[in-house]
Amino acid sequence: MAVPRRNPGELEIELFCLGLRLAESCSLESDARPVSRTRAGLGSGLELVIPGELKDLWLNVPVEEDFVARSPFRLERRGADYEVVDERNREAYPVRVPSEPGWYQAKTSRGTKMKEVGVLQGTYLGIYVSNSCMYWYKEPAKNCKFCTTGFNVGVNEVALKDVADVVEVARRAKEESGVTFVHFNTGDQNGRGLKQIAPYVKAVKEQVGALVGVQAVPPGTNEELWQYDWLRDLGADHFSFCYEFHHPKWFAELCPGKEETVGQGAFFRAMEYCQARMPKGACSGEIIAGVEPIESTLEAIDYITGVGAFPTVCIFRPVIGSDMEHYPSPAFDDMVRVMRHMYRACMRANIPIGVAPNIEVSLIVNPDDAQYLVPRDLGFRAGRLRLRMLKWLAQRHFRRELMPHPIKGSLDGYPGAKPVTAHA
């Protein structure tokens, strides 16, 4: 059967699954953001935007991996524009290739190249605070099997990020690229991940003014969950919990470090703890679709939306250099089913998706990207109307958060908790 023309949401998903070959007509060295592995979990590809009538879709499409050589999709340049051509049916899809921000090649006052401090992933600024995930240093290594972060040490990245550098980069990214969201991420830091991120959160809130997200391996015990309250006092707006696989067997097998140090339950406890204290949709559960059975992924989505968080669902990418490089990329039909379920689950649970200003995450199918996958019936239109009203109501809150402002929390400690020391 002939492959039908894809709508923007379907095209996004199929590009994630199959990747994109680059025709010789492309001149990405001058037109595109550099492909960067600064955060080399699942993203090592080319940033693209698929225009659409409901919303434009940002994605980081695989271009380096060996499976890409078999992709029917080819990126071509037509004059000043780009299009993705599907060789199975000769359909052509106009796309935009975001250009490299001017600040990427600039240096901070300390002389660090700015793109080695943080990179745009979609429309937000991603900063991997320290690239030394301790799971990589264990003998035998306990790294997550889909990840390649440890292989980057000394190869592609600078190591520990300086707070002043981060502030400078965040400021330039906000001024020149319209960034509204800065996301701090770190691998395993022997239980110190959240504390390590704290100084950056406060500095960005006070000196730049942006929404701030935090991701680290959660504490192993309930007694340490106060760190999230402390980070909220320091200005954190969002916490994400990357537990990757819902089925305990797959979690244990593919995330041996997380299993051994804190266990899957720590992610659930931390997410439930934070979401119960924050506005609906302020937390997210991050999972990878396309490895464990689909039913487990659907169960994960129901669980995450059930606690009031929103699901961030990555389509599994057998990243070049990872232990899972030789795994197959997921099937398109399966991923459409997952993403459609994600959208419906968010709407059913009244999760406010697409409400925060200008946050498009290119490594995942954003929950509101998946609106392209459902029929446009009365319920669909009512849902969109509700979200538009929420967006309008939330404007004032976001405007305040996007201004630099004093933060009440202190890096010296948190009431009732053990004193902490900032590392930077």
Partner: protein, 132 residues
Amino acid sequence: MLEGWRTTPGDEPSPLVMEPWIHALNDSEGYFIVDTSKAGLDFAERKPGSETVERCRIKVFEPDPGVGLAMAYKDSRLTHSLDRFAYGFLVARRRPFDPSDISSMLAYLRAGFHPERRPESLKRALPYTVPR
């Protein structure tokens, strides 16, 4: 067999680090091409009958005097990208590389870095900056 290996006068790497590799490559059944535009001994295999070299590479270099390091990696497919995709590192401190380690590393290279051929002695992280 090895083709293209040469050093710049005054920039000769330590025999302790390089010689075991040169011998192993010359004695191997594979045909290896050195990329002289890259630092250290940086080579890839060319399969029989093929015009081009394979994507998998090994770079042997000396980050500190007496320390030998071999990195298994792939270069980016994209002409405008400087990314390198590492698969692991073999380290020899103040001793020559073990011939059996070199042999395993070459077998890993020739197998396209297939995970089942990954040498047990390969490290996953290293405290050195890898030169271009």
